[in-house]
Symmetry: D2
Subunit: 384 residues, 4 copies
């Protein structure tokens, strides 16, 4: 297939996949926003559609008619609109437009995009479309996080279904990685984000890194040893955080009649001790490492070791701040806001998760979340 | 018709009416809770149903099977359940059970109640059912307020439909009411709440009261005279309130291209200056009266004058605190929590509104809201 | 002595008394504002002085020179100043002017006032001065509350000294009061506030009222019977309040090694069960009465019964909202803000306390606080 | 002088210096805590004293008698005490102990320390004392920040006095620094903190860096060009921060009658455009750099270039997160909490300021603050 054909197919599959992820939901599940980091599924579906409308169809497709004048306003996450408006949208309260209209909006834009792709657009536009596809894939992963959070906060713990469960890893101990200058970052073959660019050498000292992620069983030992109660293991902000939020276990863990259960997308289940521990904050990962007398890897160590590791089930907290690589340049215009403006007070996570769309993972990928986030699919591994 | 037949009919009509009120909604509109005073329509529908299950069917109907074990927990507004539960429900985040299941719950309980009413229950139970009907009627009125608030906070201002609009009143000036001892409160013929009972004499001084409610046009004069900016007209807490909340007009008023509009259930419309002003807090009513050199009536004055007034379009703020009548006694058990425990820091409103169900209004009725509330159907009249 | 001489003497004694109340303090104690209701002693001393400067000397004393241009701004509790200012004062952070300068300000204004009083001012001015004296007396009582709160929140519980302790009351049971029309409010002989005026008849039903206040020992029974844990005794807002604030005993009570202690101005002491219970909110008084199967008096019942009661040790919560008497008129200008604008969401307290200045109590006096306040010298009595 | 003699002299001078810094204060100025980052001067004086008592005298000086049993509790910033206590201290409300008693505490501990130093203590103890001296020096710098904040938030803008003013720098443009491996961190000769240790090589690319700090005049250009209003220049969190806090200029800048003034320790003065801009957050420094089309240095670039720069007037924001150097090890026990636990969500600042005590600055020093902090003596320089 030609490059354009590949993109067309990718585009079509990506659009379809977002809707498949939402298929098991009740209409009502598309609406709530149980915390500020979570967006209603309805919003994700509209926003990823608006991206193609705003950055491809409107500027490049002659005579394109907006599906609805207000939708740019409702589904734009980027700009504060200029002000003619009477009310500001609040995602979790936006019962309108209803889901069926968002779906119609999707169908319209998908159709228009396929027409447009049929007309041999320039490489410049194809590049934007590729970003749009990757953007929608990122939102697919967020959709899974957000759906889990919405359902997992229902008192009746509804079942979503299969497709995002973890597997037990074969235990393989620690592996040595030699010191030296390592090339870090993407060279720019194949798609990557601006934050990965600027491949550069980083001097790394020798280290030994675990091939596997820390498991529920191992984390439970930390809990039973009083790990959540001894401030010596915690970063100062982490200690404040768990005390203020009254955190004593990973997210979705519940003690019920003396046994540990966890909510998963397959329902409320007994905790499986052999699986990787999931839904911990950076602070909890750090405290576990301190308790164990080990440490978390930097993002550079992780990338240097990646080929020797079991990775891809959960995003892995690193002890690296999300900062620009040397020579980082953000793209001009709205797309320049994609990554750079978030480079402050966030931690880098490396790897991928069971919720990461196919073809969307690579070892140079730099994911980032605040140290206190727990609703994403996060785990961690140790360095001796 | 016998008393029982009347009640059966009332019950049936009341149940139907709640569902009619919700008929124009999208499924998505049943979910959000845009502020703490508002409950999602779904919750109202479940809660009024739970009332009959918990206070009639479970205690009195032999062999009654609960529709669902968890629903008592999800739709109870009264008690903090004992604690076996893992999560607390949060009304606006409860996407489950879906609307169709709440409707099935309603149908099941309505059916069981009709069966039960066919079996000649004791007067004691009929009394509870009568309370249950009145309880559901109160929630019907709240449903209208909450639906307006949910829709009125959508950036696209959807139309709900007809049925709850105000009419222009024939202007009739002020009427004199003589001083003396007036009987206040209900004698107990016909249904009334415990807070109306204890009919008692109150000594009232002569006064002159407006036959009509203050209008949008009159209120606009106050606004244009700088009423919201001069602290001399305001109660101290009212002044703090409007400044903290940045309030400069009644709720649902929007200035758009230099003209005043308001959101009504029929859509976003030019403000009709001849209609009664609606959606003002007690503080705004008080400030208007101060500006006008007049005052608001007490609830006793209102009741003494009621037969001479145009009333029934909007609940009317009085300058009376919601306190027990002499000799007030609350009912035993859970129903005793109905009114008494709210007798603190609230203002009495008298009258009724266009959202009040038929047969649910009487001149002894004591409605009550916090002085800062604006989302209910509130207006006011003056005393010279 | 002539009226003017009496006033001059009253003025002098009042000014001196404020300073005596502060005499046991360290300079550092004049500064903090540990909660929003509390003002630093320094501020009270300045504010009561500013009152005489702003309402007497400036308008009436020809050629009067302000002590300091900024002090009106710093010590005015009434107006939001027009805006030339760069910073807003925050009472608890105002380390400047230092105490010694506030004392100099006091001395200057006291001196100027005495000169002015020597010059035969008009009755109109004498009336303002009388208000100023009563105003300072009110602040003397607040000074005692605030000093207790400041010292009582030091981890080392410093001793203030004698002068404000309670005595055991001789137990005298309940007394009957007949029903009928009672005259309520002040006739206007002798000084009184605008909120007491408008003497009017109120119809009261017969009742039996306790001659004594509820004691620490009696209140402890309520606590030991689980009173703070059973929501049936509580007003809805009271229940929310004690749970949110984690309140399980009166303010200043501390359980230490299994025994109850309380902080008093004489230090940290074992709780004396025979003394009236102090520092309870209206909510706690209400809950106690509910538990006891009795109720709190209205302010009208209290006034009707006053001559038969032991009163004066503690302000007594009534179950009356603070509302205007019929025909209430507020004074013109700034002094009109004295009382009327607070008539919303407050409860009336009647009586007086050991912190009330001599000559400042009368049975028509209407004190008022929010139902949740506990730092003032409050207690309560019951009606059967 | 022997090493011990030097330390003894250093100790004595350091103790004296803390008191000199406070000498211009009124007693009242020692008390307030106007924001959570600021501590009352009284607390700094007590806490630095407690350090020597808790870490030197108690463990090492035989027969040492605590000055006061409660002071460890009141002046400990490290541990949550075990719980026998009735009340938790709240620094800004602690009027007791009074300043004169804190001064007596200082005198007692200083005296005991000098005695102890006279008795030839082991090197192990001398090391702790050296940390104690550096600890007190750090608090001396914080004292200056906090005093400025306390006085600068008085509406009357009191003068503190001379000693901490900035000077105009000779303008010297940009200087080139070559790429390569640079040694970063301290070798451990002379005192340094644990966070500087682990000297290691870092690969740096060539860059050009400004010899001078950005000035008030330059920053004003950014302001006048609308820099605070264009979100394109800002990190996402920075944009939220300035909008939430309503920040439109550096801290202590005030526009008064159309001219810019700033509060300095010498009083309220016209802004001197030639001086380095002070009291900006990292976010403001970043935005300025974006607007200028340049960037901030990393801490590694700064250290590599330090010998070529004018530095020492203001701490300089770097675009480096505060993270452990490779091989970082924290000290055992309480002193291990000194630095490591703060390595999260903070930015490194390099250099020193006019408030840095003599002998307390070196080019490997890693200072750190949250990106939003502005009350410390911060400025910045640019890289082309």
């Amino acid at each position: 297939m030609s490059n354009k054909k590949v993109l067309q197919e990718q585009f079509f599959q990506t659009r379809k996949r977002s809707e498949e992820i939402c298929a098991p939901l009740e209409i009502e599940d598309y609406v709530p926003q149980p915390m500020v980091d979570v967006s209603p599924p309805k919003w994700h579906l509209g926003h990823t559609t608006w991206f193609f409308e705003a950055f491809v169809l409107e500027p490049y497709s002659k005579g394109y008619r907006l599906y609805h004048d207000d939708f740019a306003y409702l589904f734009n996450s980027y700009y504060n609109n200029a002000g003619e408006r009477v009310l500001r949208p609040n995602r979790g309260l936006m019962s309108r437009p209803p889901v069926r209209e968002v779906m119609a909006y999707r169908a319209y834009v998908t159709g228009q995009m396929l027409d447009f792709l049929g007309k041999n657009p320039d490489q410049e536009v194809l590049d934007v479309i590729e970003i749009g596809i990757n953007h929608e894939q990122q939102h697919q992963e967020l959709l899974v996080y957000d759906i889990k959070y919405i359902l997992g906060n229902q008192p009746i713990f509804p079942v979503y279904g299969k497709g995002f469960s973890l597997s037990q890893e074969e235990k393989r101990g620690f592996v040595k990685v030699g010191g030296g200058l390592y090339k870090i970052g993407a060279e720019g073959e194949g798609f990557c984000y601006d934050n990965e660019l600027g491949q550069h050498e980083v001097l790394i000292r020798p280290f030994e890194i675990a091939v596997n992620l820390v498991t529920n069983g191992e984390f439970l030992e930390f809990m039973e040893a009083g790990g959540y109660k001894d401030f010596n293991y915690w970063l100062s902000e982490g200690w404040d955080y768990i005390n203020k939020e009254n955190i004593t276990a990973p997210l979705y863990w519940h003690k019920h009649k003396g046994e540990w259960y966890s909510y998963t997308l397959e329902g409320f289940e007994m905790l499986d001790l052999s699986l990787p521990v999931q839904h911990v904050s950076f602070y909890e990962a750090y405290a576990y490492a301190e308790w164990k007398g080990m440490r978390l890897p930097t993002e550079f160590e992780w990338e240097a070791a990646a080929d020797k590791l079991n990775w891809g089930q959960l995003w892995e907290w690193t002890y690296s701040a999300y900062l620009p690589y040397p020579g980082f340049e953000k793209a001009p215009g709205a797309l320049g806001e994609y990554n750079g403006k978030f480079m402050s007070n966030q931690n880098v996570l490396r790897g991928a998760s069971v919720a990461t769309p196919k073809g969307h993972s690579r070892k140079t990928y730099r994911n980032f979340f605040h140290a206190s986030c727990r609703w994403h699919f996060s785990g961690f591994r140790l360095i001796k």
